[in-house]
């Protein structure tokens, strides 16, 4: 909490930024994640993105990241490389293998924290893609608006009734509000998916875990 208080001006600044600007700047940061080749820089990036995510969300889950990091480091240590640092129950802990494990896990955790920083509640997309996403979220919101009471006999019946009801209601809603319900696929995919696909290709070509 003391850390959050220390960074409170930055937190205020981040929360005043537009959700869309944060999203696209994070996309740019995602590409920069591939550049550090040393462990020190990877850990620095991890720290920066952790603080940013923490400042934005105030609360983040770290346990899943710790578990996956432990698995990755253990997997890396399984193949001994370099100088032996110590031995635990006849199992040698080697320097290069440990550093490699740390580097891979810090990269993975950086990506997760960056994602948590990038995506916020107020994120709204513009244009055709934005309309589509808004329709999806509107349907999802209707599907989850009331609690579903499950019992052993009627699980499928209850889900089906809810789907039928929302399907009809939302369809009428779309027509009444004159919301466009059909688009060309490339209108949705191109503007937003092009940078994401480029980032993915970059990810696959760089193979940051080697």
């Amino acid at each position: 909490m003391k850390l959050l208080k220390f960074f409170s001006p930055i937190s205020l600044f981040i929360n005043n930024l537009s959700a869309k600007h944060i999203f696209f700047s994070s996309l740019l940061c995602f590409v920069f994640l591939f550049f550090p080749k040393t462990l020190q820089f990877s850990l620095l990036f991890l720290l920066i993105f952790f603080i940013l995510a923490l400042l934005k969300r105030q609360k983040i889950l770290v346990l899943p990241q710790i578990i996956i990091s432990a698995f990755m480091i253990a997997s890396s240590l399984y193949t001994p490389v370099g100088q032996v640092l110590c031995t635990i129950a006849n199992f040698p802990i080697t320097k290069d293998a440990l550093f490699l494990g740390l580097k891979r896990s810090s990269f993975l955790c950086s990506m997760v924290f960056l994602s948590q920083y990038a995506v916020g509640k107020n994120l709204k997309f513009s244009g055709t893609f934005g309309n589509f996403i808004a329709t999806v979220f509107s349907i999802f919101s209707s599907l989850t608006s009331e609690n579903i009471k499950f019992s052993k006999q009627n699980i499928i019946k209850v889900i089906d009734d809810r789907l039928f009801e929302v399907y009809e209601k939302q369809k009428i809603n779309l027509f009444q509000n004159n919301i466009k319900s059909s688009y060309k696929l490339h209108q949705i995919l191109l503007p937003y998916f092009t940078p994401i696909v480029i980032s993915l290709i970059f990810f696959l070509l760089q193979n940051p875990f080697v």
Binding site: S26, M111, L114, A118, V136, I156, F164, Y167
Partner: protein
């Protein structure tokens, strides 16, 4: 009639958005189901992908698959992470396998949603294992491979039976098929 054909060829409709929202809804339900290990999932969110097979064309089908991953990772805050890369490769490979199998099967009627579901689950797991060999655990992936494939097969069977039962009993699905056979 001509307008309907154009609509089917170049557009996506309200139904596509509904299928994507259903994927989100089912993944929310899945969170509530207890799992023995974090990576062992029932894959309920794949149900709309299976159910959409008789309704949509190839472009619309892959569009649903991509959007499913996008909205799921957007909601869970893992859009720029390895989770998204793994989900993307798994879903695209399973969707491709299921779609190709469906194209062969719909003419011969030799395969049901059960076979489609098992194929999809296995291709999803194989793709994720390959990604794990390339990026995460390298050759040590072999220690989790059997467990992952076995769990994939079991969940594929369960989801396949669920899909058959749902398709035969759901009023919503019957309606959506009736409406769309007149369009597509």
């Amino acid at each position: 009639m001509k307008e309907n054909k154009i609509r089917a060829k170049s557009c996506f409709c309200y139904e596509i958005a509904f299928f994507v929202a259903l994927c989100m809804f089912l993944s929310a339900i899945e969170v509530a189901i207890p799992k023995p290990l974090p990576f062992m999932r029932l894959g309920l969110a794949n149900l709309p992908i299976i159910l959409a097979l008789p309704i949509v064309n190839a472009r619309q089908y892959f569009f649903i698959s991509i959007m499913k991953i996008f909205v799921q990772t957007l909601v869970s805050g893992t859009l720029f992470s390895y989770v998204a890369v793994f989900s993307f490769t798994g879903s695209i490979s399973s969707s491709t396998a299921m779609f190709l199998l469906w194209q062969i099967a719909k003419k011969t009627c030799l395969i049901s949603f059960l076979g489609i579901s098992i194929t999809g689950a296995l291709f999803n797991n194989i793709a994720q294992l390959l990604m794990s060999v390339l990026f995460l655990f390298k050759e040590n992936t072999r220690y989790i491979a059997f467990l992952l494939l076995l769990s994939g097969f079991i969940t594929g069977v369960l989801l396949g039976f669920f899909a058959i039962y749902f398709a035969n009993n759901s009023q919503w699905y019957k309606k959506i098929i009736e409406e769309n056979t007149s369009i597509l």
